[in-house]
Amino acid sequence: MTLAGTVVTASPALAHGDHDARPLLRHAQAGPYSVSLWQVYPDVGSAMTPHLIVTFDDPPPESTQVTVVVDSARVDVVPSMTTPGAWETLTGVLADDVVRVTVSNVDGGWEVPTVVIPHPLTSVLPMRALIMISIFLASGVAWWAGGRTARAWRRPLPEV
């Protein structure tokens, strides 16, 4: 399924931000605009490829346009359906891609500082293994605690 397809069929979601995307550039000045760049995490499932999000610190006027060039090739970018005043690319960006974003309106165009996509943070932690160990640990503790709780209520409270 393409990203465009999933964007159309996806249920309403929270605005993009630190919970589902990593910041690439915060509060960069582009002419009259203050802009931040984000990349959705690559391990969020098939519904979201690691695409780029351009957010404005203040909602831009409707006439504002955003252009994104990745490795010298222009990519499609559309207004975000989940994040007010934001724009999203329709294709993912990969580590080491060179991204140039231009913001324009009727008065002209301004380039955001060029960003090279860093390698993702999430690869540091072996999350599946961590989750399985945690589930095993929590289940074992729940079993132990169940027995001890039953025992605590079975016997009378100690005398003062």
């Binding site: 979601a13 993009h16 910041p23 509060h27 391990d43 499932g45």
Partner: protein
């Protein structure tokens, strides 16, 4: 005088909580902690095992009541209860178990600071680092679900070690509570030839 009487009552409550009520209070508290832990594990499984999009991975209760997560109320409430329990039940611990319980309380203290900051951001509507959503201090380095899963894990492990040490029969003589008292009292008698 009324003030003194109130202080006496409060002191009495803490003493009871760490004496004759300690065993039952400890297991009730652990049940709450485990429920919270499973909430985080459910969310983690939604993301990394069932591969749900992160904005839709809100945990078990959050799946049914999304506002609990988006308003930050649920995890702030859990963090507050967890920290209060760790502090209130601390006096009942002795020796090595006390050190482990205290370590858990200190880590949970930082976890509570993080959740308080998140709660304030959700109420005020202004977020750290210019983020469109409430953000933890360490989120620029580690994404939120990973960060808070690790926070809970490093609070949970020393807590369980402390409880295990505290409830061993060998600890019974050091405790003021009956958490480590064996189920069946030892029989006292005189052996005859």
């Amino acid at each position: 005088m009324a003030h003194t009487a109130q202080e006496t009552t409060e002191t009495g409550f803490i003493q009871k909580l760490n004496g004759r009520w300690h065993e039952r209070a400890l297991w009730v508290y652990l049940a709450i902690v485990i429920l919270h832990w499973f909430e985080h594990l459910f969310q983690a499984a939604q993301i990394w095992i069932f591969e749900m999009p992160r904005p839709e991975a809100l945990g078990a209760l959050g799946y049914v009541f999304p506002w609990l997560v988006t308003s930050e109320v649920m995890h702030f409430g859990y963090a507050l209860i967890m920290f209060a329990g760790l502090v209130l039940l601390l006096p009942g611990f002795r020796g090595a178990s006390r050190s482990w319980w205290l370590a858990s309380a200190i880590i949970q203290g930082w976890h509570l600071v993080e959740h308080t900051t998140l709660q304030v951001q959700a109420i005020v509507g202004t977020n750290l680092f210019g983020s469109p959503v409430p953000t933890s201090f360490l989120q620029p380095f580690v994404p939120r679900p990973e960060l808070h899963l690790v926070y809970n894990l490093i609070v949970f492990i020393p807590m369980i070690v402390a409880m295990w040490l505290h409830t061993r029969p060998a600890q019974d003589s050091a405790n003021d509570c009956n958490c480590a008292t064996p189920d069946v009292p030892a029989l006292v008698g005189v052996a005859t030839a």
